[in-house]
């Protein structure tokens, strides 16, 4: 058996599987868990997820690559997503993207050489009353013009957002506290499998 998850995350993973009537339903949550551990979704993680879900690693890869949030290649510690959809476009989102690319010296989809920043062009993030919308690691930040974008980058480099914005991959920092009735506990499931 592959062992990519830490012991702690392995028991989290088994608890996630136990939440669903069929283990495959935990596939996406497990991919998020792997990203929270590693910052991205590695082949080793996908092998362990496949084993937990009862599918092949290729099925995990084939599913994960369908979804924008799951990164099967390394990304920066901070993934900066700028929405360019209609409401943000009307508020100058493409001008902000162009500035961000110059400022970071990368194009959308690329990562800075120091592994700090990945820049992405996002689809509508449902925050259209404060455009253009910018998220860092899926947390909304205010960076609507060059000056505030510069301040954001400087703040992220100085670690001013620690706590507020976790490292890329960490999605939900609140864990489910209640197991489902009749669900196998992580321990029994492990010894059984």
């Amino acid at each position: 058996m592959t062992a990519h998850f830490s012991a702690e995350n392995r028991s989290r993973a088994e608890a996630l599987v136990a939440l669903y009537p069929k283990p495959r339903s935990a596939l996406v949550p497990l991919c998020h868990l792997a990203q929270s551990q590693d910052g991205w979704l590695s082949a080793e993680a996908m092998e362990e997820i496949a084993e937990l879900c009862g599918v092949t690693p290729a099925e995990v890869y084939g599913t994960a690559t369908f979804y924008d949030m799951l990164h099967c290649e390394r990304v920066g510690r901070h993934v900066i997503a700028i929405c360019t959809n209609v409401a943000c476009l009307l508020a100058g989102a493409y001008e902000l993207v162009a500035y961000a690319e110059r400022r970071l010296g990368i194009r959308c989809g690329q990562t800075t050489g120091d592994g700090e920043f990945t820049l992405e062009e996002a689809e509508c993030l449902a925050g259209c009353d404060g455009p253009p919308c910018v998220q860092v690691n899926h947390r909304f930040v205010k960076a609507r013009d060059p000056a505030s974008f510069d301040a954001l980058i400087a703040g992220l480099r100085r670690g001013e957002y620690e706590g507020e914005i976790p490292r890329h991959g960490t999605l939900c920092r609140v864990e489910r506290a209640v197991a489902l009735p009749g669900a196998a506990t992580p321990r029994t499931r492990r010894s059984g499998g």
């Binding site: 939440l19 669903y20 009537p21 069929k22 495959r24 339903s25 935990a26 596939l27 996406v28 949550p29 991919c31 998020h32 879900c53 599918v55 084939g62 599913t63 994960a64 369908f66 979804y67 924008d68 949030m69 799951l70 360019t84 959809n85 209609v86 409401a87 476009l89 009307l90 493409y94 001008e95 993207v97 162009a98 194009r107 959308c108 062009e121 996002a122 689809e123 509508c124 993030l125 449902a126 925050g127 259209c128 009353d129 404060g130 455009p131 998220q135 690691n137 899926h138 947390r139 909304f140 999605l171 939900c172 920092r173 609140v174 864990e175 489910r176 506290a177 209640v178 489902l180 009735p181």
Partner: protein
């Protein structure tokens, strides 16, 4: 006009701690669930039928009818659709972050009414804060006895699992959402069966309701379906969230009485949109999400009414209104909307997968100044392949409605602003001189 209708789903938004159990209980939370549990499930369904609540996800299907279609079976499921991704729609996002307990209470009421014991709240992955608040609220609800075994000491038991999405617009389509919840690519399912109520999650009968639909249920149970139906007019009852964005002075999400308020009120009333940015002039508006045909200034006096907007040739859809002023380029808007659909196509059906891409490429070259005069006919010809006749509502050529929705904005933009397209082509540039241009994002 602005009516004095009560705020229903946003009534706690003025409290900064509206997402906590303490605030929820202090503002009457979970009373409706207690009341529902003292009623027969059929009586709860009756109230929702009397309310004539239309689904708030986009299709506007009557919620009570959807419930009544649930095939009786040993195992049934409820899935709350919180995958809000229709561009310029930002209402469910607010409901999830600001009042997660209302969604949990609504889901419990719905589950009780239709006899479901296992529910999922599918929350869009990009809503990290929303996921945290929903998960926290779920934990609190279990602790309070509002979820789990024998809820409030009644015989009714319900488990709710908060499920994170991972970034895919098509998950909003209910059969795609179910596929995604099963751990697969979000491929919409072939119809028939048309409704998950017959064959849904894991092949079992499943009710899928939008977050805003679910959020209205506690108020309906507390105040009665008749009180809800007394708001609005005709089939458009109650209140609804309208997400207003674009070139408007006060963008925001406003809860308004249906039918009685007009697009003019929404966009120009000082308490709502407050008019066009900088006192500019309205050029056009998109009345119900980017799948909807556009309206011009002559349609401002239409009520926010599902039937009225349908009859006028568009839809209220997801309740998002995007305002274009004289500085907004129709070509650029049509290109960006088309690009969205092309990127979000799941790829199963050829008209959508290929057609969307061709349309995007042609619109891009027009916006970038490389267009040809024959492109306008070519665009409409491809649109005709995607949705024969390019009529409204669109004719279907694909498994789901994504592909046939692409022509709406293109047909609107060309139909309303043909000279703007011609100018792009003849001068080889965007006449509105948008700095950075489409090039900045069209690699």
């Amino acid at each position: 006009m602005l009516t004095d209708a009560p705020r229903i789903v946003t009534r706690r938004f003025s409290h900064p701690d509206s997402h906590t159990l303490a605030r929820y209980l202090a503002t009457g939370g979970y009373k409706a669930l207690r009341k529902a549990l003292r009623m027969k499930p059929g009586a709860v369904r009756d109230e929702v039928n009397r309310a004539s609540l239309l689904g708030r996800g986009g299709a506007g299907f009557p919620a009570g009818r959807k419930w009544s279609m649930l095939r009786p079976a040993e195992t049934t499921y409820l899935v709350v659709n919180g995958d809000e991704s229709e561009p310029a729609t930002f209402k469910d996002h607010l409901l999830i972050e600001r009042d997660p307990h209302q969604i949990i209470e609504g889901a419990a009421i719905a589950a009780y009414a239709v006899g479901v014991r296992h529910a999922f709240i599918f929350c869009r992955g990009e809503f990290a804060l929303g996921l945290e608040r929903l998960t926290q609220a779920c934990n609190e609800a279990y602790g309070y006895g509002a979820l789990g075994q024998r809820i409030f000491r009644s015989p009714f038991s319900l488990d709710i699992v908060v499920h994170p999405g991972a970034g895919s617009y098509i998950c909003g389509e209910e059969t795609a959402l179910i596929e995604s919840l099963e751990g697969k690519r979000a491929f919409p399912r072939i119809k028939p069966p048309y409704y998950p109520a017959a064959i849904g999650l894991y092949g079992e009968p499943t009710v899928v309701n939008n977050v805003e639909t679910i959020a209205a249920l506690p108020w309906i149970v507390e105040n009665g379906g008749d009180a809800y139906a007394a708001l609005g007019a005709g089939t458009s009852t109650g209140t609804r969230l309208f997400a207003l964005s674009g070139r408007v002075a006060r963008p925001g999400c406003y809860e308004l009485e249906m039918s009685k308020t007009t697009f003019r009120d929404l966009i120009f009333d000082p308490a709502l949109g407050g008019g066009i940015v900088g006192g500019g002039e309205l050029k056009a508006f998109i009345p119900g999400g980017v799948s909807a045909p556009w309206f011009g200034p002559d349609q401002l006096d239409l009520g926010l009414d599902q039937d009225a907007v349908n009859e006028a040739g568009s839809m209220l859809g997801s309740g998002s209104v995007v305002v274009l002023d004289r500085t907004s380029c129709a070509v650029r808007l049509a290109w960006r909307i088309t690009r969205f659909f092309y990127k979000e196509s799941c790829g199963q059906c050829t008209p959508c997968r290929e057609g969307g891409h061709w349309l995007e490429k042609i619109l891009r070259r027009i916006e970038e100044g490389d267009g040809r005069f024959s492109d306008l006919d070519l665009l409409m010809d491809i649109c005709d392949n995607l949705a024969p006749g390019v009529s409204w509502p669109p004719q279907q050529t694909t498994i789901c409605v994504l592909g046939p929705s692409i022509p709406s904005s293109i047909a609107s933009a060309i139909g309303m602003f043909r000279t703007e397209f011609a100018t792009h082509i003849s001068i080889g540039n965007c006449p509105l001189g948008t700095p950075g241009g489409a090039r900045a994002g069209t690699r």
